[in-house]
Amino acid sequence: MSDLKTEVKTMLIERLKLEGMTVDQIDDTAPLFGEGLGLDSIDALELVLGIEQKFGVKIEDEAAGLKAFKNVDSLTAFIAEHRAA
């Protein structure tokens, strides 16, 4: 697992208070919202803040954000793409 992916999963667990969950238990391709991790829209706002604070990546475009929030793989790719820029 890439370091960034581990960091993203750690951020998800800490920021969203996913009590009792470990990095290994979060599936890279399972949906973050609804099924899968079962996150809701309030969690999405919390994620926007967490990503900005931890990775310095701002999500201002809602459509781009929702696409990035599909699963851990897409979120990691989004952060990797926007972090250095």
Binding site: S41, I42, A44, L45, V48, L49, I59, E62, G65, L66
Partner: protein, 143 residues
Amino acid sequence: MAADPVTTDLIKTQLPHRFPFLLVDRVLEREPGVRVVAEKLLTYGEPYFQGHFADRPLLPGVLMLEMLAQAGGFLEAEPLAGQSIFLAQVVDARFKGPAFPGDRLRLEVKPEASFAGLLRITGTVACEDRILCTAKLVLKRLG
């Protein structure tokens, strides 16, 4: 002082709330998307003072959160007329002091983040430089 102050008449255009639950009397400063400073003037006539408490009228803490949420409605540039604004989350709230009839409450709110119809704000309720409440709230706007 403020760009774009809101007159008393315009408060009812911006917020759908009405007596006895319109908890913003004046908007002193308003920069949409940046900062809002509003006021609520407490009197003995407030309905909740009848029972909270009969011998010692005291503003319920949850109403300070509601005041901040309503003040948050003025962070939006467009009027909320025809729409409602709801509390979606109380992230954090600290009540540091009581508010009584006669107090002029200063409500200051700032946006922290927004996404998909949700707005997270930080807010402070103060009276004559005494901070009575600080809070982080998430508001949801519904059409």
